[in-house]
Symmetry: C2
Subunit: 398 residues, 2 copies
Amino acid sequence: MRQVGIVGVGHTKFGKSEVPFIDMLCEAALEAMDDAGAKTGSKNVIDQVFVGSMGAGMINRISGSASAVVDALNLRPAMAECIENGPASGASAIKLGYMAIASGCCDCVLVIGGEMMRVVSGWEATDFVATMLHPEAEYKYGITLPCFAGLFTRLCMEKYGVDNRDLAIVSVKNHENACHNPCAHIQRKVVLERITNPAYINATNPIVADPLRQFDMCPVSDGAAAVLLVAKDKQEELGFGHKKFVRIAGIATATDTHVVANREVPTDLLAVRLSAQKAYKMAGMGPEDIDVAELHDAFQILEIAESEEVGFFPRGEGHLAARRGDTAIGGKKPVNTSGGLKAKGHPLGATGVSQVVELVRQLRGEAEGRQVEGAKTGLAINFGGFGNNVAATILTTK
Amino acid sequence: MRQVGIVGVGHTKFGKSEVPFIDMLCEAALEAMDDAGAKTGSKNVIDQVFVGSMGAGMINRISGSASAVVDALNLRPAMAECIENGPASGASAIKLGYMAIASGCCDCVLVIGGEMMRVVSGWEATDFVATMLHPEAEYKYGITLPCFAGLFTRLCMEKYGVDNRDLAIVSVKNHENACHNPCAHIQRKVVLERITNPAYINATNPIVADPLRQFDMCPVSDGAAAVLLVAKDKQEELGFGHKKFVRIAGIATATDTHVVANREVPTDLLAVRLSAQKAYKMAGMGPEDIDVAELHDAFQILEIAESEEVGFFPRGEGHLAARRGDTAIGGKKPVNTSGGLKAKGHPLGATGVSQVVELVRQLRGEAEGRQVEGAKTGLAINFGGFGNNVAATILTTK
């Protein structure tokens, strides 16, 4: 199969966007094009634009965002489509970019993930996110994502001995990492004692969905991220030869039951396991080859559970690895060096692309202040629904 | 490049759906799987599901429809994504299905297009459709699709001598064709005199957006359509060998300015021309090779203009061809044998897939009552925005 890789990355400052949705997407895209060294007149180089977003239609009331981006960036008549796969929309868009190039239909594809979530607030944001659940069996009964995550966490606590302090350890680590990521939404160090001490925990870290507290889940953020994909055999010809080629070695998605209650083992994240296995197989690699990973910690328990499902740690021992510091920078398997969804933020459609941007920066050795020394291969897990539809991506410079 | 074709088609009765959105998608999908002869246990045959829809999020408040379909059809862990490209979402989803197979990532892809529009009505439906226009430069000022189509029609009248009767001729032809399509929304013959006679035209065919009247544009419909794509080299192995292989010979999209006012020649539909040229080139064919076509007559003027842009008739002469009956069944270039968007209906995301379903039926010789004798090659144009993003697909049994 044709080799496909990334030659440019862009990322807005996550948080509250001060520009309209399409402009925010363009900001990330232009940075990726600049990063790749795309020159004036490069408009005819880009064959296809994919925009990954969950709420462009639902909360921003915009259809055809990808066409709007093509026009704004003067890339006409490039092809353009929007991709929606809940919070995994970004990674799905990259997967389709991979396919577009591997098929020979395209040589160069611009992929942008973006979400403008802060136009809704409070319960409206929670309700928007909940639309990724089953429309008849779950959503209409008022089930939300924090509710599922709370139930899931409680089961993991009972089954594997995870405790609230473990969740806080993951949170503290990710906040620490985010302090070194200028694009992170929350660049603030958090002290473990402050968010775990029973004497004042209800003030510093209030309950949201028992047993989950505020620091056990991600904030609501606006943001966009972009990557420029090219075929290896066209990298020179298209003028991107000076850039280190970060190859997409494996990329795959997998689905689980769309109704969470139908899962045989409710603490398993089957789609994480299957998508990772597929990506490993495609890359001819295994968990032992991964130097750095971005896992989808929309809830802190998910970073722990995913670190097991992708094979980093034995089942039920992810929290022990977190306690030992294995997932910190300098540990055996650094996870979420970007700050993760917890502290970098989680603008849904942006996240899958943002994770890949972080891995590219790590593999290029450009992750200043949070660099994993000598990182050559990275893995990203982008999690849609409550594990209904998950994407795994493996990047390498090997 | 790997050969990709269609072995199964499904299509709901367009009009008002009596089942929820996901169920409607599944109904079309199951018919396509049955049509292909997919057997029990064929679940592992389908690698990927694409759902093309414009309003699943915006008006049905559902994210991740594709995951819901995979689960409902018991196709887990098949990959799943939703594709949005305004009213061209369906053709875009087929394009991505083509790429997925051509890349070697998949062997068999199920593509479903669907829209449940009648949950909104009157001005709400018009407003929903208008969200495909530029969010800042057009939509927010209250511009609608009928308004653009009215302006476009007036320009064509002044420039090329198109008149209201020409639009009515196209409408009457498509209504006639729809009488033979059991899936059409409006299966009713319309008499030219009834909708053109000045004595009672304001009663039978009232003005909507001058110069356009009710019979010059499509209705608001619910509906879904599905196609099962397979790699030619896997057709036998996957158990679809008994089906006539309708090959996708060419498929491409192209974008034009997202702001209609920025077009140099406002009567040109550049993206129609460019996408058709790309598809012809890919297929190694030209307009002379096309035996039957489905053109995107959301407004009747578009059927006329598109018939010129795809090279069937010289510029400015599409209406003359319609007058001569060239586009009727039995004419030189039969167009919209299905009834077109005018009479078959236009559930936005469904339309691109529905057009391809009609072509497959024509090329298989299964278009009872509306069959174009000896048709071997067909062309579909699926039109997004007001020509902002257009898809051209060429199918053949040659």
